[in-house]
């Protein structure tokens, strides 16, 4: 075990050096060895990252190495455990970007078009021989092309194919980590990092929605876990309520009671913060980036049109709200009355 940790530390150091000025002393042989170490690192990760005890040891060693390297090289970027899974790729990209890398080394990178040999992927298939750069670029482009085709099906509720695929990959990963029951906190940490790396709740929301709506039975346990995690991240849930399309939110409400409650709560909150502008005879929001009446109305309409049981629940709730507000039938006094009015218009 100690040997593995030592090797891990060394590889991280090699990776760090490859991004500094000291790389100008490297020759082709060094590069070959560096890639071999990177591959070794990937294999270590794949084998041990789901075992909590070993993972802890790896993380400790990694942190120690990170700290040491931060002292030596200014601007050093801390490596996480997840980064180790992509060691070879990081080495390759780092070398390409580093302006000090000897040009002959770069040339050798091109000449070989190195095959990033399997460091041991979770699902090693026999036809994975196309693991070289060309294959990689091809597949990314293939995904791009297939993504660009228009989505026709109603069931997808406006979710792009890219989001649907990303959702599935998300669930797949959760399931892989959860193969051992004591990995819950690890899975949560990963999700936290994913959220952080996504650069904005907008994209993240779609992926989560897609993951929750994935219809496959195998995904059920992973979906439950995801919901569980979401409950600890209200900000994400609220962002989803606001940024996702009405039809999508409706579908999510149908699938997940938790989401439904939060969604409906959000709608109620937005609606009650609207004020009636007597001169223009419309409901307006208090500040410009709050949710508009139209937005709320569209979402409520979407919920209604989804049929039972949501429809009946909405009707009941709205009735109660209307009554608490004074049970007005006149337009402009209670937002609930006006929303309910829309219901009748919609129905007739």
């Amino acid at each position: 075990m100690e040997a593995i940790l030592k090797n891990l530390g060394n590889t991280v150091e090699v990776l760090a050096v490859s991004q500094t000025v000291f790389v100008n002393e490297w020759d082709n042989q060094t590069v070959v060895r560096a890639f071999q170490w990177a591959r070794y690192c990937e294999q270590v990760y794949t084998r041990f990252h789901t075992t909590p005890s070993i993972r802890a040891a790896l993380e400790t060693r990694l942190n120690q190495t990170n700290e040491r390297l931060a002292e030596t090289f200014s601007g050093y970027r801390f490596l996480t455990l997840s980064d180790l899974a992509q060691c070879q790729h990081r080495l390759f990209a780092g070398l390409l970007r580093n302006p000090v890398v000897p040009l002959s080394v770069i040339k050798s990178l091109f000449d070989k078009f190195p095959s990033f040999e399997d460091g041991g992927s979770p699902d090693e298939q026999s036809n994975e021989t196309d693991s070289d750069l060309i294959g990689f670029i091809r597949r990314r482009s293939a995904c791009d092309i297939l993504c660009s085709l228009a989505v026709e099906r109603k069931e997808s509720c406006g979710l792009s194919r890219a989001s649907q695929v990303q959702g599935k990959l998300l669930l797949q990963r959760i399931e892989a980590v959860q193969c051992r029951p004591d990995n819950d906190s690890y899975a949560r940490t990963l999700l936290d990092s994913f959220l952080q790396d996504s650069g904005g709740l907008g994209n993240f929301s779609e992926v989560i929605a897609a993951a929750l709506l994935s219809g496959y039975r195998e995904d059920a346990t992973a979906q439950d876990f995801l919901l569980n995690w979401l409950q600890g991240h209200r900000d994400v849930l609220h962002s989803m309520c606001q940024s996702l399309q009405p039809a999508l939110c409706t579908k999510l409400s149908q699938q997940c009671p938790t989401f439904k409650l939060i969604y409906w709560d959000s709608l109620k909150k937005w609606a009650s913060s609207l004020e009636y502008n007597v001169s223009d005879q419309v409901w307006v929001q208090k500040c410009s980036n709050a949710v508009s009446f139209k937005s709320v109305a569209d979402r409520v309409k979407s919920l209604w049109s989804s049929g039972s049981p949501l429809k009946e629940e909405m009707e009941k709730d709205l009735e109660v709200l209307k009554q608490t507000d004074g049970d007005f039938e006149v337009h402009g006094l209670s937002v609930w009355t006006d929303l309910e009015e829309l219901h009748y218009i919609f129905n007739d």
């Binding site: 990937e42 990760y45 990252h49 996480t80 997840s82 980064d83 899974a85 992509q86 070879q88 790729h89 390759f92 990209a93 390409l96 970007r97 040009l103 770069i106 040339k107 091109f110 078009f113 990033f116 460091g119 992927s121 994975e128 196309d130 693991s131 060309i134 294959g135 990689f136 670029i137 091809r138 597949r139 990314r140 482009s141 293939a142 995904c143 791009d144 092309i145 297939l146 660009s148 228009a150 026709e152 109603k154 194919r161 695929v165 990303q166 599935k168 990959l169 998300l170 797949q172 990963r173 892989a176 990963l190 999700l191 990092s193 994913f194 790396d197 996504s198 650069g199 994209n203 992926v207």
Partner: protein
Amino acid sequence: MEGKYIRNTLFKAMTAPSELQLSFWMDKAVKWGQATTPSAQQDMSKHLGSLRSFLQQLLHTLQLTSSATEAVKSLPFVGQFLGRLCWNPYVTADGESCSLLLQCVCCLYSAEPRNALEQRANDWIRNLLCHLTSAEEGGVIYALERFAGIAPHHCSSQALQKMVALLTEEVSVSCSPAVHSLDRCLCDSIHAVSVACVPLITCPEAAPLIGALLKRRISCGCSHLSEEFIEAVSTALLSKTLVLEDMAVIALWCHSLSSLEGAVLSLLESVLSDPGAVLQRLEEVVSSSFLPKASAQHCCIFLIVNDVFRNVLMAMEENVAVGALIQVFTSCFLRSHSAQKQQERLPLRAFFPHVPQNLLTPLLTEPSEVPRQAWLEHVSWIGRLLHSMSREADQVEEKGDSPRQRRALFEAWFLLAQRGHWVDVAAELLVSVDAEQSEPLLCLLTFYHHPTDRGHQSSQQIMAAREAWGRMRILFLAHTLPPERLSSMNKLLSSATSANLLLRLLLSFAIFCPAFTSTAVKVLQKVLTQAELKRRAEWLLASAWHRLSRGGALDAALQDRLRALQDSLLPEHISRCT
């Protein structure tokens, strides 16, 4: 002549692209942009093949330049051009184009830049490669790659598989107006999907989607697949760079006549290019083409395949390799047909619409299904039937032209060719029968080898065959081999315009006569002196070996005989080759 061809292609590849070509492709690259619109993709699908050739040409030219500066001087916008294409996923999704593109780009890299231009080029190339291989930080894809805990290229492979699975599901949804009256028929978008799939044909992950697109054509008549897609699939299947499931291949062949014909011609080519090597594995080669099985499931496929065979056979009548191929194909077909479930099976009648039933049944029977003692009667029956058909056709023709009669006769002959081992059986029987019994057998043989001879010519041929048969009997049964007889037999074979009948008879005698092996060998050596005849004899001997061993009739004695006969043909043949 081959050398000239090679030199010409090399020369063509090595010439630098012309101004016209460069501006044409540059315009295209600009117009295509990032391939996001259906019309751009449509145009690209039409030009993918020629783009590959152009990139090949460009690569050759760049490889000859000594530096990036020189390259840019002779091809001013090459950097821009390559850059644009690198940002075009439709081009980079195609394996060959992607590889050529990147090789071109790397040609512009200087290990020792001598000026600012080369330095800039280096930086640009490194940047480009970074962009092509890494997801942008701060985006969902980058985050997902990190989250997934696997190398990016595994991640992209899995993503592609799932993307394909999604689309395959969408494409496989059946188009039934009653059920989905509110949804727009998806058939309009099928065309767009097929266009998008053209660069993905050789991508193994995309195979399920390609299969689904092809199969949809069967279930939904309004599906419209792009021509370029069909052609690309056809080519890839033939070169074995794409593997599809059976149903998809059948769907392709039912949909596109040219792809079916291409498959048949490809099979013919593989057999004709090296007949000697292929004979041993003929059955394997034919089965692996999937044509027999497909023919058994779809009558129309069988009919079209046979049409191609008919034409080839008419053009190359005396080619024994083609005959053997057709025979083996028909056997494989019959086996596939009988392996089908009872309720799915069409009656064999449907597959041979122009052959009279009384001829069809005896010819479709396998020799193994008929007891050996009954062979003579069986084959004689066939021979007599063919003879009477032939006579009938003559009579009708004397009265006037009768295409129907001629057609029936031709079909009978073609069926005989498809079931050629009955001809072999007839030749085998002729070794041991007497004069009276030989009549229908000789008729059969003559009909097989000279189908177009009518009336007077036909009777002449039968007479000649009978005479030759008589002489062979004497020759092979004699204790001594009088040289005059041998040389006259030699002359007969050498002078006949189509000696195959005589050759077949001769070899039959050589194999099956009760005389000593040494006698048979001696006769063969003296009679077969021409190289062409020896070559055909070799093939016929190998064919006989194959037939006998399949029929379980190849005992030790026969094996020795056959081997000795084959050896007798060898030494001089070898010297001919070298």
